[in-house]
Assembly symmetry: C2
Homo-oligomer: 518 residues x 2
């Protein structure tokens, strides 16, 4: 069943020169002239043949409504063997998505399967292995033509009849902000179909997706719900009140201070939760030193927008909405230096540069981490829990990549060490991780190539950092896990590959095997 | 010498279905990681081989300084047989550009040659015919790979070391505003080289050209001078004081009123000179009726910006600067609905839609026009005077295309009729011209497919329009020319083709032959 078609992983930065070529794509025919592109999904089915690839972006996250419409329409028309080039797949897709795979409407899958869909894959739901990729790699595959998409479907709150689309217009209940995750789909697919909540007869100006790329505009009742995207206005007090967040954020902030990364003109990415507390700490620091960050990228929140308006951050770059608030969306639409970026600009290694590469510091989280600093964000002992997201790209690009995680967790009399001998699944290679932060400890990767490594080590004590080595952290993690309860036994697996984990350049980083049926 | 490789022109809208495919292009190698792209032109020469195609945009117009640097560097490195994929070529390129062709550094040419360079071509300066194209067709050839550019050179006032560029930053003396004319070059060339006045170490956000596309950033003293782009703040009083402008504008405005094109939400493009007076008339009309135009496109001036700020125009779309003023450039950079567009979005027929197609009315000018309404903007009786520009695209796209020209002109005892039996060179087919306007007369094309044709004819008298037929206008034109003096004798030509005129889809519209040597 498994066809091993991969080049082996050859280091995070494969310096071998290779001929990267962007793929060709279908243009217009005949000459376009102001025709309305309003269509139905039925018409779109005409261009889809059995075995074709369709693509779909995940920016509505659990609020998405469009993918179900597409999959049910494929079923209605008796389509078979369709490959779904997706991204994150969440639990709201059940049962219709699994059923489509069971019934042969869909047969192959690219993307990051979460929880229920992950379990479906692990139970052998697909005849062939699926493929997990980073945001940048998803774009790279489209650019290089490794994947040729027949129809890219994109849900949007508003489009005009000619195919321009915006995520910041229309019914605010449907706002999804930047359409950056969909841009490469629209650029490289042969056909592009928008599923739109509202329709404008006039051109949308500005628009995020250009009518140059679009074939079909299909009005739908609901493309997706903004409320499924994020948790609304992220509450900094609530984040601070979580003891884990507070401790981690304090430790991460100390690392930043010791490493002198908070400088006038520095670039950064932080996540939500503890990341939000870190962001608030950065705000205080920028204020008190009267300096300005150059740009922040990824997971832009109200707090980012406040900092931008206050002049503490020069520019915000926005590829994917995490907070569907009026404050964030209005700022994106109106403010000259709060700009939408494509996922290719953010992270593709087929492009001649990517914004992740200019990050001075990035704060990321992980499921587990091992003695070689390899990171796992996907599969815990046979259960697929998380995805790759932009993690690989950001970790590889940032000068100082700070990876945080709890030392250990426990549940129902079981203890789970988070710093392990060998990660269950390698989703990011250790060579691109510079610092590991737990609640109480900090480990600097001796193989780190960060320009901040030496100063961080020199000034660690001065800033009250408890620096230890990875072996010691591993010991502490095991010890702590045992305090919670019994350590889990490693799930035994068959030799059937269920899911490939690619590195961002398309080489093979790891494989996930099907566990033995219990 | 001539190799006839063209499909014949098959109507302005060739409805035959054809397989338009975008070309492949070179991506990155190896994986990019925050390297500075600062280079010298000498380094760029390494990738150029004899016979390669280089491209260069013309947005600095007579102020351009970059092309000479490139051509002299090609000469210094002994490059031969290079094809120049240019656009408009003006007199400031002498003598170095002609010399480069004489010496075999350059051998083939795509673009719109004006005056001196036109004369050089007409004198047989090139061994093979050159090719003239519209703005949209120039992009289409890049998109479809009819032309494969090795290195695209782009002059910009400011770029960062990673290759993001903006025409609105840096030294205001070098501002060129939108880089839309260069975007397709940057997207489809194998290598992209910026020639930049200022260099930023920080990412330019927002930028008009993305670092994803750029290989080389070459700092230069002067990429081009804004003062060469346009005539500064265009003076409406000055335009009105020109008797021809005043009469033409009055007549054009009456046509618009009669045809009821000035409506809430209408889209328009007008040019400079008489076009500016028409724009001012539109302003009065929008004000008095308290309605708003949807978008204006092409040749955005201070007056457009004033109308945008006043709420008389919802959006401005900007592909090429004509007025390098702080008012226009600042508005482009800061205002949410004053947006930069690519020439592809504007006009390429390979894209799945183009903005010219949504124009309700466009006002264009011509050198001469004939009994079949064919237009000539390029070659008057053996002398190449003007270019195609966006004229073909706009005329084909707009619902109501108004072409204006003087009835006749005279000089040194000679008279030149402007409405002729057959244009010397057909640069736009008559089928896309709806109305012809001279100082005193209006002709409606009986073959016009404009939705405004009938109402215009019905209401012409009511609005004081002097409507005649094209044959009568031709007679008047001849008569008027004779009042100026002797009519010119048609230049006799050899059978050697000097220059092809393509229609926007790449079919052959006309050929310009070399005149007999006098």
């Amino acid at each position: 069943m498994e066809k091993y078609f991969y080049k082996d992983f050859n280091g995070a930065f494969n310096d071998a020169s290779y001929a990267s070529n962007y793929t060709a794509k279908r243009g217009a025919s005949p000459i376009p002239r102001r025709h309305s592109k309003i269509s139905t999904l039925d018409e779109v089915m005409d261009v889809i043949e059995d075995g074709d690839v369709i693509s779909y972006p995940h920016y509505y996250r659990t609020g998405d409504k469009g993918l179900e419409l597409v999959v049910q329409k494929l079923r209605q028309y008796g389509k078979k063997n369709i490959c779904l080039y997706a991204n994150a797949i969440f639990d709201h897709t059940e049962p219709w998505l699994q059923n489509a795979f069971r019934d042969g409407v869909l047969t192959s899958f690219y993307g990051n399967p979460y929880r229920k869909f992950g379990a479906f894959l692990m139970n052998g739901g697909l005849d062939q292995p699926s493929v997990g990729f980073s945001h940048g790699n998803r774009v790279r595959k489209l650019q290089t033509g490794e994947i040729k998409v027949k129809v890219a479907f994109g849900p949007v709150p508003m489009a005009d009849i000619h195919g321009n689309a915006s995520g910041c217009l229309g019914d605010s209940k449907h706002w999804c902000g930047p359409l950056g995750l969909f841009l490469a789909d629209a650029e490289y697919a042969d056909y592009v179909c928008l599923l739109t909540g509202d329709v404008s007869d006039r051109l949308l100006i500005p628009a995020s997706i250009s009518m140059e790329l679009v074939d079909f505009v299909v009005p739908v009742d609901c493309p997706g719900l903004a409320e499924g995207i994020g948790s609304g206005t992220l509450n900094i007090e609530k984040a601070r009140s979580n003891p884990f967040n507070a401790k981690i954020a304090e430790n991460v902030t100390k690392v930043m201070h010791a490493a002198e990364v908070i400088q006038d003109g520095f670039n950064f990415q932080v996540g939500s939760g503890a990341g939000l507390v870190v962001l608030d700490n950065i705000r205080q620091e920028l204020r008190s030193r009267k300096i300005q960050a150059n740009y922040a990228i990824g997971g832009i929140t109200s707090l980012h927008v406040d900092m931008y308006k206050e002049g503490l951050i020069d520019s915000l770059m926005h590829g994917q909405l995490f907070e569907a608030s009026d404050k964030v969306v209005s700022s994106l639409y109106n403010d000259a230096k709060h700009v939408e970026i494509s996922t290719g600009y953010y992270a593709s290694v087929a492009g001649k540069e990517a914004a992740v590469n200019m990050l001075d510091v990035a704060v990321l989280s992980a499921l587990e981490l091992d003695l070689e600093f390899n990171v796992n964000t996907v599969c815990a002992n046979g259960r697929i829990i998380g995805g790759i997201g932009g993690g690989q790209d950001v970790a590889a690009g940032a000068d100082l990549t700070i990876m945080f995680l709890p030392l250990a967790t426990g549940k129902n009399g079981k203890g789970f060490p988070k710093v392990v001998e060998k990660v269950y699944t390698k989703t990011t290679p250790g060579e691109v991780i510079d610092v590991v932060v737990t609640e109480d400890y900090v480990v600097v990767n001796p193989n780190s190539k960060s320009t901040k490594k030496n100063i961080l080590i020199e000034r660690a004590k001065e800033f009250g950092l408890n620096i230890i080595d990875i072996e010691t952290l591993h010991d502490f993690s095991i010890k702590k896990a045992k305090e919670f309860g019994v350590l889990p036994i490693l799930t035994e697996v068959t030799d059937r590959v269920i899911h490939y984990i690619e590195w961002r350049d398309g080489t093979l980083l790891d494989k996930i095997y099907q566990p033995f049926v219990k």
